[in-house]
Each structure stands twice: as C-alpha cells, then as structure tokens.
C-alpha cells in the first residue's frame, strides 16, 4: 500500500499548482481548498483509468472483504407475519446506522402509531420524538444508577462511623415534615374551597387539540394546581366543561391516579356561565382588545386550558364572544419590552401571575413569571424616569446633545 500511494502522489502534485500548497495563507485557505477539491478529482480520475490498474486493485481490496464478510452478520431474522411492520422496523434500523435521530428500541404499539402517521414528515417527527424520549430515559437511568452507587458508598461509610460512637441527641420534632406540610396544605385547600376566590379552567377545547397538545395541557394543569396548593392564599379552582369520560377527563384521572377524587377543587360538567353571574366573569385571553389593569378580587377569572400549537388564533376570544363575556389580556406590552415568542403563556405561568397579583397586586413582581427569553426587560414607567425625562426636556439638553453629536459626526466624516 505504502509504495503504491507514494507512486501516485507525484501525479497529484503536478496537477495541482504547486504554489497553492505552499502559499496557503489563512484567508484564502478555505477558498482554495474548496476550489482544489472541486477541481482535482475529475482530473485525477481521468488519469487513473488509463494509468494505473495496480492501485485500483489495492484501493478496491476492501470490497472483496466486505463481500466475503457478508452473511455472517446477517442483520435480522425474517418475520413473515406482519410484512409492513417488519419492513418499517428494518428501515428504522438502517436509519439508525446512518446516524439519524431514530429510537433504538421501538414497541409494537409505537410502530403501529408510526405507520398510521399520514405523511413522511409526520413519521420523521414522531421518530425524532421517540428518539428524544429514549435519550432522556437512558440519561435518567444512568443518573439513577450513579446515585444508587453513591448512596451505597455513603451507607457503608456511615455504618463504619456509627459503630464508632453512638450518641443520644435531643429533638423537638419527629422528621415528618412532608406529611405535616401536606396536611397543612390540605387544610388551607379546604379553606379555599369554602371561602376562596374562584378561578375557572375552561376545558371546552378538547376538539381543538391533538393528543400531544392535550397531554401538554394536562401537564400544565397539574403544575398549576400544584402552585395553587402551595400558595398562602389559594384560589378555589374550578374545572368547568369537563365532560365525564372525555379525553381530558381520562388523561387527568390517569395522571392523578387515586388522588383525583381527593383533590380540593371543583370539577364540573357545567359551563362557568351556569355557575357564576355573567357580569362578574372575566375571560382571560391574549387576543382580547381590553387590557387588564388591576386584579379584582370580586371577579371570576377564566383561563382556557388550551395548548395551541396550531396557531388557531381567536378561538377563546370567539368563545367569550359567543357567551357574551368580558375579556381581558395581561398588560405584557405595557410592562415588558417584548422580544420573541407568543403572548400566550402557559397555564402554570398564568396561575403564578394571578396568585402573585392576588397577594401583592404588583405587576412587576407578578410578571417575573413571564419566561425571561420572551422579553428583553421591564419598561420603566416609574415616576423617577418620567421626572428625569421632563427635566431633560425642560433644559433642552436633549436637543443640544443631539445637535452636538450630529455636528461632531459630520466633522469627523
């Protein structure tokens, strides 16, 4: 091999202008390289066909071994029963070999979902989702293993230490904090059920959502319920329009398990309009033309539990219009310098904002829960800045500054 390639090298040298090799400066190297690599191959190919059969043999050596090494590692066993499923499985396997983002293991059920995907891109998306899920799972497993090992290690060390000296200590409480906290929260929850301000989650959007979106919604509902429970002064949560045995209901029951029946909130099939007087209801939606100025403690706020990845704008506004309800949106533009992203916030963010408003009434404080990536900072509408601006205006420093800088610039030009 050594010899053959060395024999071949002078060939290439004379094809490529020699100076290119030497004078490859930093700036041009990239360009040159591309230029050369696109130019050279065709030339060298032509020459090679005519000139050197021995090298070809050498270079093609691997093919023979590839062909001979064949059947030993035959990829997969034949399964005749379900042809298309098996073929899909093989396809995924080949994609994995190619380094695409597909899962390593796939269950029958997932395969079936995959074959039901309407389009090629839907299939790819689903596979990528499975791949991500698998990766997260694997990482968690590894972490758990490492933790278990560390715990084992610590235990061993402790057992060694405990044999050394065993001393009595005085404590005031048993270590039952979690349970105590839960009981306390439950007690507060009961208080809220009796006297708390209602907060409604409108669940009438299940036909607007795909299964994945619905799952996200339920996750967000769970999280907002958790935030509410831990608050000093929780809302009395209503799940309205929650049809028994709808996809929503099933998913909620599945996620909460047996806790579902012990939750300190009201789940009802009724619409909020039936439960509360119409004029005290305010439907919160980002599409609303009316901006919320203060949090009113005598109103009933409705949040649509709707994850909208399909940008069906105006769905909840249409709903409020149909029921003839007042609508409001958060004053995001007034307080924040919005940068990117949708004005729609997640349910748990809404919940935390409302809780904060309820307790403090401070917008800056409450809007801390808006994701930081969505805005570049608070707009300062405080007294101080207004004062400053007025002063500037009065003394006309603003104008003179501006003029001065202008003239300076023109000079320098």
């Amino acid at each position: 091999m050594n010899v053959t390639v060395r024999f071949f090298r002078p060939f290439a040298r004379c094809l490529v202008p020699y100076t290119c090799h030497r004078k490859r400066s930093n700036v041009y190297s990239g360009v040159l390289r591309r230029y050369m690599s696109s130019k050279v191959p065709s030339l060298s190919c032509h020459n090679k066909d005519s000139a050197s059969p021995p090298e070809q043999l050498e270079l093609d050596g691997w093919k023979a071994t590839m062909k001979s090494s064949v059947q030993e590692d035959g990829v997969s066993e034949v399964s005749d029963k379900d042809d298309s499923l098996a073929a899909t499985r093989e396809l995924i396997e080949m994609w994995r070999l190619l380094g695409k983002e597909v899962p390593e293991h796939i269950t029958e059920e997932e395969l079936k979902t995959l074959t039901e995907c309407a389009s090629k891109s839907a299939k790819k998306k689903y596979l990528r989702y499975l791949y991500g899920k698998e990766k997260v799972k694997k990482a968690k497993q590894i972490k758990r293993q490492m933790k278990a090992e560390a715990r084992e290690e610590a235990k061993r060390a402790r057992s060694l230490a405990s044999t050394m000296g065993e001393e009595q200590q005085d404590f005031m409480f048993l270590r039952l904090w979690d349970r105590q906290i839960n009981i306390a929260l439950g007690w507060k929850g009961v208080q809220a059920m009796q006297f708390g301000q209602p907060l409604v989650f409108d669940m009438a959007y299940d036909n607007y959502m795909k299964p994945s979106e619905l799952q996200n919604t339920v996750s967000q509902l769970l999280e907002s319920e958790g935030w509410n429970r831990r608050n000093v002064d929780p809302f009395h949560i209503y799940f309205c329009n929650l049809k028994l045995d709808s996809a929503y209901h099933r998913e909620l029951v599945r996620r909460y398990g047996e806790k579902w029946d012990k939750l300190l909130l009201t789940a009802t099939e009724k619409s909020p309009v039936d439960l509360f007087p119409k004029d005290s209801i305010i439907y919160l939606t980002a599409d609303s033309p009316k901006v919320m100025t203060t949090f009113k403690h005598d109103k009933i706020y409705i949040i649509g539990s709707f994850v909208d990845k399909n940008t069906q704008t105006g769905t909840s506004l249409a709903k409020a219009k149909r029921l003839n309800l007042a609508t409001e949106c958060l004053p995001l533009d007034k307080y924040l310098q919005w940068d990117v992203g949708n004005k729609n916030l997640t349910l748990d963010q809404m919940m935390r904002i409302l809780l904060c408003l309820k307790n403090t009434g401070n917008w800056e404080e409450a809007l801390k829960f808006v994701p930081r990536r969505k805005h570049t900072g608070y707009l300062e509408v405080s007294e101080h800045s207004q004062e400053l601006f007025r002063n500037l205006k009065k003394t006309k420093t603003l104008n003179s500054y501006r003029k001065g800088s202008l003239s300076e610039r023109t000079w320098k030009r």
């Binding site: 690599s37 050498e58 270079l59 062909k67 090629k120 509408v381 601006f389 500037l392 500054y401």
Partner: protein, 587 residues
Amino acid sequence: MTFYLSGFRNFPKLWKSNPYFELGPAASSASFFLTVHCVTGNQQRWFSVKPTTPPNSKTLNLLVAKARTHKKRNDSNKQVSSDPHYFAAGAAKKRSHLGGNPQNQDHALPVRSTVQLPTKPLNSEEWDKLKEDFKGKVSFEDFVISQMARSCSSVDVAKSLLAWVAAKHHGIVGYNLLVKYLYLCVFHKQTSEVIDVYEIMKAKYKSLESGAYTLLIRGLIHSDRWREALLLLEDIKKVMDPSKKNYGDCIQGALLHQDVDVAWSLYQELLGRNLVPLLETLKAFFDYGKGINDDHYSNKLLDVLLYLRNNQLYPGESFAHSIKTWFESIPGRQWKGQFTTIQKSGQCSSCGRTIESIQLSPEEYEFLKEKIMRDVIDGGDQYKKTTPQELKRFESFVNTCPPFDIVIDGLNVAKMFPKGRESQNLLGVVSQLAQQNLQLLVLGRKHMLRPSSQWKKDEMEQVQKQAHCFFTDNISEDDPFLLYATLNSGNHCKFITKDLLRDHKACLPDARTQRLFFKWQQGHQLAIMKGFQKSKLTFQHILSYDTVVQTTGDSWHIPYDEDLVQRSSCEVPTKWLCLQRKTQAPC
C-alpha cells in the same frame, strides 16, 4: 453621547431609519445608548428614559455598513423601474426593497474543519496521522467522509479512506460510510463503482433505507441494469411513499433506455399518488419526444401541457426551450415558437392573438362566492371573525344597496400614506372616486366614527355622504366582508386594498378554490400606487388576461419563469412562449 429619540421599541427596527446611520459611525462608537421609549397609551403618553447596554462598536459598525449597502441596493432597484402589474413576478420583492424592509442576508458561515481534506489518496499511515490531529465529537471517519461529500472530493480519496477503515475493522465498512461513498460515486457519475456498492449493499443488508435507495436509483439508471432501479422503487413503496425525485429518476432512466411505456406508466403512478412531478421530469418527456414521430406520444405531451394548465404550474426557462424545440420538431405541422411578452391589452406581442380573459365563468363565480361565504367569513364558527348579528346586519345592508362599482378597504387606504391624517386620506380617495360617478362602498370599523386626532368627524361625514359605508365591530375582521361585498355586487365590481389577502386565501379548503380565488383577485384588486391629495389617484393596472398555459388548437401560449427572476407564490410570470402553426395544415 447620542440620543436616539424614536418611536421604535427594539433595536433592529432602527435599521429602517437610515439617516442615523448615514452620519457615520465615528461618534456613536464611543457613546452609550440612551433609548427613549415612547409608549402610547389610550390617551396619555409615558416617556421613559432608559439606558441600555451599549452595543460594542463592532456590531454597530456592522449595522452601519449594512444600512449603507442596503440603501445602495434600494437605489439601484429604483433605477430598474417599470413593473407591469401588482402580481408580476418579482414585484413583491421589489416592493419590499422600496419599503426599506431590513433584508436578512444570510451570511454563509465558513465551514470550520479541523482537518485539511486530502486531495489525493493517502496510505494508512497518513490516515492514522491525520486522525491523530483530529479533535471532534463525531468519529473521525464520519467527519472526513461528510466533509468529502460536502466538497465533492474525488472518489479515489474516499476509496482510500474506506480501504483504511476496512483494514482497521477486519474488512467491515459501516453503513453510513458506504452511503456517503455511494453519494460521491453518484455525484461523479462513476457507474461501475455504483454497481459495486450496490452489490455489496445487496449482499450485506437485507433492506436499505430511503436515502440509499434514492442514491442507488439515481446511480443505476445510467447503467444497463436500470431495470433494477424499478425494483428498488418497489422496495421503497413497501414502507413509505417514494418521493417525486425517485419517480423522476426512474422515468428519466426509462427514457434513457427508450422504454416509453414504463416511463408513462410511472408518470401515471406519480400523479396517482398526488405528487406534483418535478418540472425536470416533464422536461425529460419533451426532450425525448424530439426524436420520435408518434401521435400517441405527442398526445400525451399535450396532456402534460394541460396538466400544467390545470395546476397552474409554469415551466422554467430551459423547459420552455424544450417545449419550443419539441413543437418545432413535429414534422409536417410547421410550428413556430417565439419568446415574447403580453401587452397590457392582453394581446400577444408576437402573434397579436388575445390571451384568455381573467374573468371567471359564471359557475366558477358562484362557486367562489359560496366558498368565501362559507369558509372565510363563517369558517365553522361565526364568532371567530364576526358575530351572527353583524353578519345578518351586513347581509341586509348589502341587499338594500344597489350593486357597487368599487369596494374600499377603509382602514387599509387610510393608513397607506403615513403623512396625512387617516380620515383625510380616506376622504381624498373616496372623493376622487366619487367624482367619476361610481357606486362606492367603504368598509371600516366602528372606531373610525369616534372622533380622534386621526379621525375627524366632519371628514367622516363627508365620506358617508359620498359613499355607502359599513362599519364592523372593532374586534371583527373587515377583509372577509370586503371580499363578499365585492363578489356579491357582480363581475364588474372591484375592490381597493393593498393587502395581498394571503391569510384569507389560506382559509379556503383546497388548492383549486385557492387558485380560483387568486385568479379572481388578480382581475378585481386595485392597488393604489399614489393618490395623496395633490397627485391624481393612480392604481397598479389590473391584468385583463389570465396567466396560464393555454391553447386555441393551432396556437399555444405558455408563460414561463425566467431563471434569474425570483417569483413569490402570489405572483405570476411575465414572460411567455408563443407557439403557432405557420400554415394552416388540414388535419
């Protein structure tokens, strides 16, 4: 110290105000920015002065440079004038340039490679050495072969890499390396190598994946074993739909080997799968057709042209040339082709024939009207765009009024000239049109009636005197009403807005209705070019003819896309291929 006193909130928007940047970067680099935000509330205004972090001078200079080049481009664009109509190819791009929208230039990021790609085959020691120098996340072989594929290295270099890998791994070369090698082979048209790799893959793997199949098909069609490409196509079909490229390659392979029947049946299958064939594929049929004199074949080609017509596809420039040469090659018929344009009157500049009218047929018109009502305004939920009460009010209003000549999108027109007051703009346009004795309808929102700094009461009263007016609720959409009012008034009625109405087009259920809508829009939309008080109101001229592939039996007119013009989806080509028979041959 500089003060940027501007209404713009965020920094990128400052690009629009070119004058700042024209002053030069010198002073600004040393300053920190004091942005003054002006927040307009309902009535009162707050101002806040807020120091933002000074962007470093480098980025600023970059911005300045960008703004300058941008301006330059604008100027050069202005010199290239005379755009024929609102929907002409490239017109939207030009408009956006004139509007001074910031252009997002995509800077090609330099490909950072830690390894100098070899330009000649290396031996194993050299590869080893190269590998030692390499630092990266992915494996060395993967990285190198990907780079080779990207820069289209010679097959031999790749081969030497594979040989090295095989020597190291007991003769096994990974599938991904094989596929990328195959890519290089296909790219360099090394058919024998493709066949070798094909043999290896067939032997080693039971089935492949779509990427490799695609490459193999493309590689095999040039060889004698092109029929195996069809088998590979069958293999793809087992798991997923083949792409139009797969079909296109197979068809081209069949045509290369003179198997016309296979090619046409593949074409039928392609259409059957609701795929839109690549224009290259269609071109291949025309290119092949030059050689043969067969009525059956030429009928099929005419079918292809009708397919283009029905789906409103336009051939590219080279395809247009192919069509022309095919027509001219038909013996005995003496077709004569000419590249031309259509005059404003709708006559072909070369033969003088009138191109098909843009007007919809009565059935199409009724169909579109109903669809607009059902899908755009109602859309399954009347509350989304309007309310049932409002809809009823609107319908009774439309029915009591005589048919309109022109329907005006009040808000769009009013905001067209930022210099003037909004009600003043609207009144200007309305009164100019009213002088021509036209029945006008102005659509607007209710807030226009509430006197404010922008909307003066007396001016609105004058508008209402000169035109019929309909004001929707402030949260309703007015465009759907505009569409319906125009459609309801009949074919002569036009509407004025600068909006391209793409979102409403998107509400329509299928491509056919959307095309119908687009055709109607081309024929009925008036876009104001200028018309601010002093100057006379002028519109972009309306197309009187339909831009679509069309025939009269002894003539064909085929619009085509020029290679150098970028056409957006809401525009139509301006160049045409005119074909006609020289002597009327009896047939």
